[in-house]
Amino acid sequence: MNSIIITIIQGLLVLGIAPFAMGLVRKFKALMQGRKGAYPTLPYFTYATMMKKEMVISKSTSWVFRVVPFVVLGTTVFLALVLPLVGMGGVLAPYADFIVVSAVLAIGAVFLVLGGLDSASAFGGMGSAREMTISSLVEPVMIVTLTAFALVAGTTNIDGMLGMHPVLTLSFLSLILVCLAENARYPVDNPATHLELTMVHEAMVLEYSGPYLAMLEYASALKLTVLSLLAANMLFPSMMLSTSVWVYQGMVVPTILLSGLIAVVMTVVKVVVMMFLLALLESSIAKMRFYRMQEYLSIAFFIALAGLVIVLINLV
C-alpha cells in the first residue's frame, strides 16, 4: 500500500515541479547575468499557451513525426515514475534496473532523432546527426558509471544504489558530466540559442509547433528535473520517502504523512539547489566548440572508467 502511495506522490510532485525547475534555471541565469528575468512559473503558462495553439505540420512528414512527442514524453514520464527521486521502494522501483533506464533514455533519444529527420529540413537533419554523435558517446559513459555504482551497492537496480561511498567520487563526477550532455545543457548544447546553425536539441524540435512542441518542451524539462534529482539523491539519499516505519517509544507510528511532507520539502530544496548550480555553470563558461565534444565525452568516459577501476580494486 505504502509503495503505491510513494509512487503516486513522486509522480505528482516530479511531473508538477518540472516546468518550475526549467523556469528556475532561467531565472537564476538571468539574475547571475544582471538581468531581472521572468517569473520561474512562466513555463507553466508557456506550455498551456502552446497547448491551445494550432499545429503546423509539414506535408513531407510521415506518421513517425506524429509519434515522436508521445514516445519522448512517455519515456521521460516512465523515468519520473520509476527512478528513486522523491521516495525509495515505490511500486515501480523494480523496473529501475540501470540497463533498462539507459535503454529507455536511448529510445527517447532515437525517436527525437527520427523526428528531426522525418521533416526532411536541413536543420532537423543537422541536429539529428549531432545528437547521434553525442548519444553514441554518452551511452558508454552512462553504462560504465552506473556499473561502478551497481558494484558498490551490490544491485543493478538504481533504487538500491543511492548513497555516496568515497570510492564513487570519480563515478559521481562522470555522472554529472553525462547528465549535462544528456540534457543538452552547457557546455555541450545551448538551450537558449537562437542561432539555428549551432543548435543540437533545438534543431531537432524546430519543425514542431503547438501541442506537440509543448509535449517535447515539457519532456525536456521533465528529463532535466529527473536527472538532477537523481544526481542529488546519489549524494543525499536521506530524508526521502520510504516504506519503512518509524518506531517511537515502542509504538509503530504510521509516518507516511510526516515523512511525506519532509520528502516533498526536501525535493523542492534539491531542485532549487541543482538549478542554482546549473545556472552558475552556464553563466560562467562559454559553450564548447562542437568538435571539442568528443574530447569532453572522452574525458567523461575515462573518468567513469577510472571510477570503475577504483571500485573494482576496492572490492578485491
Partner: protein, 518 residues
C-alpha cells in the same frame, strides 16, 4: 608610392585635378589594362567602381573606377565611356578581384556588360526580375511594375559521397536582416559557402535621383541604421567639396564626435554580440547590451533619436550642443568605456571563450587585399588602411589618432581589434572635448553642380559616396557601404571551419544587408 609625374606618364596629359581628386578619362579599350597596371604594378587599391547613364549628354554609358592614393591623401578616378548601343568592356575582375561585385552590379543595374567576367550570374536581381531590366538607366521609371519572371539563379554546388547542402535563411531564427546562405559541408566541415543577399532592395539610388541634396540626406541616413552618422557625413562631405564650402571648426569637431560615438556604440555592441551571443558566454552579452543601451539613450538625449541620426547636415551641424550636453556626452561615454573594458578584460580570462575565438574564421592578408576588404576586419588581418589617417576629414588631422593593427585575422583578432579601437575612440572623444572651440556650427552653402567623392571611416570601414549634381538636383549618388566589399570575404573565411562556428564568424564581421542592397 606613386608620384604625380609617374601618374601623368601613365595616363597621358589629360589628368584633371579637382580638390583631392585626380580624374582621367581613357578609351574603353585601355581601361582594363590601365587599371590592371595601376593595381598590380603600382599597388594601388581599388575603392569603388560605379556606372553612370550619360546617354542624354554624350550618348554613352560611363564606367568609373576609384583608386585610393593614401600617401598624398588623394583619390584617382579613371573613367571610360561606352557607346550607348553596345555598352561592353573587358572585365576587370579577371585581373583585379576586388571589382567582381561592382561589375555584376553594373550588369544588373545598367546593362553594362563586363566581358569575360568569371562569374556572370545575377547579383542584385533575383529570379523574379525579368531579363533586360536595368533600373538605374534613366529611361526606367522608379515606379515601374515588373512582370514576375523565373530566371535561373544557380548557386555553387559540390557533389560527392557524404557531402550535403545546408540552405539557411533568408528568414532566420533570430531577429536579423534577411540573407540566404548555402553551405556545402562534409560532416560539419564547411567546403564552400555562398551567400545570396539583396533581399532588402529599396531602390535608394533611383529614389535619390532628381532630389535636391537636402531632400536626399534623410534617405542616405537610413541606408544602414547602424552607420547613420557616418553615411550622412560621407554624403555631406561630397556635396560640400563640390560647393567648396568651408565648415566651421566647431562643427568639424562635433562631426568627429558623433561618428566616434557611433563607433563606440557599435564596437560595444559587437563585443557583446560576438563574445556573448556567438559563443554562449551569456554574461558578456547581458552586460554588453546594457552598456550599449546607455550610449543609445545618450543619443536620444542629444539628438532625439537612438541611432546618432540627424546631427550632421549639409553645411555643418544641425544644432549646437550646450556645455551641459557636452559634459553629459563625456561622462556617459567614459562610464560606458570603463565598464566595457572591465567586463571584456574579465571575459578574456575565460579560457573557454578564448578557445572559441582563436583560430576561428581566419581571414588572410592576401585574401583581404585581393577582395578589397575594408575597415576593421582588414586591419585585423594586417591591412594598414584607415580613412581617418589616409584621407583625413573633419578634424582628424588635429586629433591624437592611432591606428591599431593585428596580424592573425581570426575572430579573436577582430575581437581584440575592437577593444583597441575602443581605447583610441575614447582618447579621441577626450581630445575633442578638450580642444573644441566655440563658434557657429553651421555655414550657409550654395549647391554647386558637378561630381565629387566623400569618404568616411565608419566603425565598419570605409564609406565612399559618389555624388553627381546637375542643376541643383542629384543625377547619380552611390553611397557605398563597406559591407558591399566585405560580404564576399565569407566565401574565404568560412571554408575549413565547422558549421556551428559560422554564426561567430558572421558576428565578427557584422555586415549590413541593408547598406549593401540600396
Amino acid at each position: 608610392m606613386i608620384t604625380h609625374e609617374a601618374l601623368s606618364a601613365l595616363l597621358g596629359s589629360d589628368v584633371h585635378v579637382q580638390g583631392n581628386e585626380l580624374r582621367a578619362s581613357v578609351k574603353k579599350e585601355r581601361f582594363t589594362a590601365l587599371m590592371t597596371e595601376l593595381v598590380q604594378a603600382q599597388g594601388l587599391s581599388l575603392s569603388l567602381v560605379f556606372g553612370t547613364d550619360d546617354r542624354k549628354s554624350t550618348k554613352t554609358f560611363g564606367v568609373h573606377a576609384v583608386l585610393a592614393l593614401p600617401e598624398t591623401h588623394e583619390w584617382l578616378t579613371i573613367s571610360a565611356e561606352l557607346p550607348e548601343a553596345d555598352p561592353r568592356y573587358e572585365s576587370l575582375t579577371k585581373t583585379v578581384m576586388a571589382a567582381h561585385w561592382y561589375e555584376r552590379f553594373m550588369m544588373d543595374q545598367f546593362g553594362i556588360v563586363a566581358e569575360g567576367h568569371p562569374d556572370n550570374r545575377r547579383l542584385v536581381h533575383h529570379e523574379n526580375v525579368p531579363e533586360a531590366t536595368f533600373p538605374l538607366r534613366k529611361d526606367f521609371a522608379w515606379d515601374t511594375k515588373m512582370d514576375h519572371a523565373e530566371m535561373p539563379y544557380p548557386m555553387h554546388h559540390v557533389e560527392g559521397e557524404g557531402i550535403y547542402e545546408i540552405p539557411v535563411g533568408p528568414i532566420h531564427a533570430g531577429i536579423i536582416e534577411p540573407g540566404h546562405f548555402r553551405f556545402n559541408v562534409a560532416g560539419e566541415r564547411i567546403i564552400t559557402l555562398e551567400g545570396k543577399l539583396f533581399f532588402t532592395h529599396k531602390g535608394v539610388e533611383k529614389l535619390l535621383e532628381d532630389k535636391t541634396p537636402e531632400e536626399a540626406l534623410p534617405l542616405i541616413e537610413r541606408v544602414s541604421g547602424d552607420a547613420s552618422a557616418s553615411h550622412a557625413l560621407a554624403y555631406c562631405q561630397a556635396v560640400e567639396t563640390l560647393a567648396e564650402a568651408s565648415i566651421p571648426e566647431r562643427a568639424q569637431y562635433l562631426r568627429a564626435l558623433y561618428t566616434e560615438l557611433e563607433r563606440m556604440t557599435m564596437h560595444i555592441h559587437d563585443l557583446a554580440n560576438m563574445g556573448g551571443m556567438g559563443t554562449g558566454y551569456t554574461l558578456l552579452a547581458a552586460q554588453g547590451f546594457r552598456i550599449k543601451e546607455r550610449l543609445m539613450r545618450l543619443s536620444d538625449r542629444v539628438l532625439g533619436n537612438r541611432f546618432w541620426r540627424g546631427g550632421i547636415v549639409l553645411g555643418g551641424i544641425k544644432k549646437d550642443l550646450t556645455e551641459e550636453q557636452l559634459n553629459d556626452v563625456l561622462k556617459t561615454a567614459k562610464e560606458a568605456y570603463e565598464e566595457m573594458t572591465e567586463i571584456v578584460e574579465f571575459a578574456l580570462h575565460s579560457s573557454g571563450l578564448r578557445e572559441r575565438l582563436e583560430t576561428t574564421g581566419v581571414l588572410t592578408k592576401d585574401v583581404a587585399i585581393a577582395y578589397g576588404g575594408l575597415g576593421l576586419p582588414a586591419r585585423a588581418s594586417g591591412v594598414d588602411y584607415d580613412v581617418r589617417r589616409d584621407h583625413p576629414y573633419a578634424i582628424y588631422n588635429e586629433l591624437p589618432l592611432e591606428i591599431p593593427l593585428k596580424r592573425h585575422g581570426d575572430v579573436l583578432s577582430r575581437f581584440k581589434m575592437r577593444i583597441m579601437e575602443l581605447h583610441v575612440t575614447m582618447d579621441l572623444i577626450k581630445a575633442i572635448m578638450k580642444q573644441i572651440p566655440s563658434g557657429s556650427v553651421h555655414s550657409h552653402m550654395k549647391i554647386t553642380d558637378g561630381s565629387a567623392l566623400g569618404a568616411v571611416e565608419s566603425w565598419r570601414g570605409q564609406i565612399l559616396t559618389y555624388v553627381a549634381i546637375e542643376n541643383g538636383k542629384i543625377t547619380r549618388c552611390f553611397p557605398r557601404d563597406p559591407s558591399f566589399c566585405n560580404w564576399a570575404l565569407f566565401g574565404e573565411i568560412g571554408p575549413g571551419n565547422i558549421v556551428p562556428d559560422f554564426p561567430l564568424c558572421n558576428k565578427s564581421l557584422n555586415l549590413s544587408y541593408s547598406g549593401t542592397d540600396l
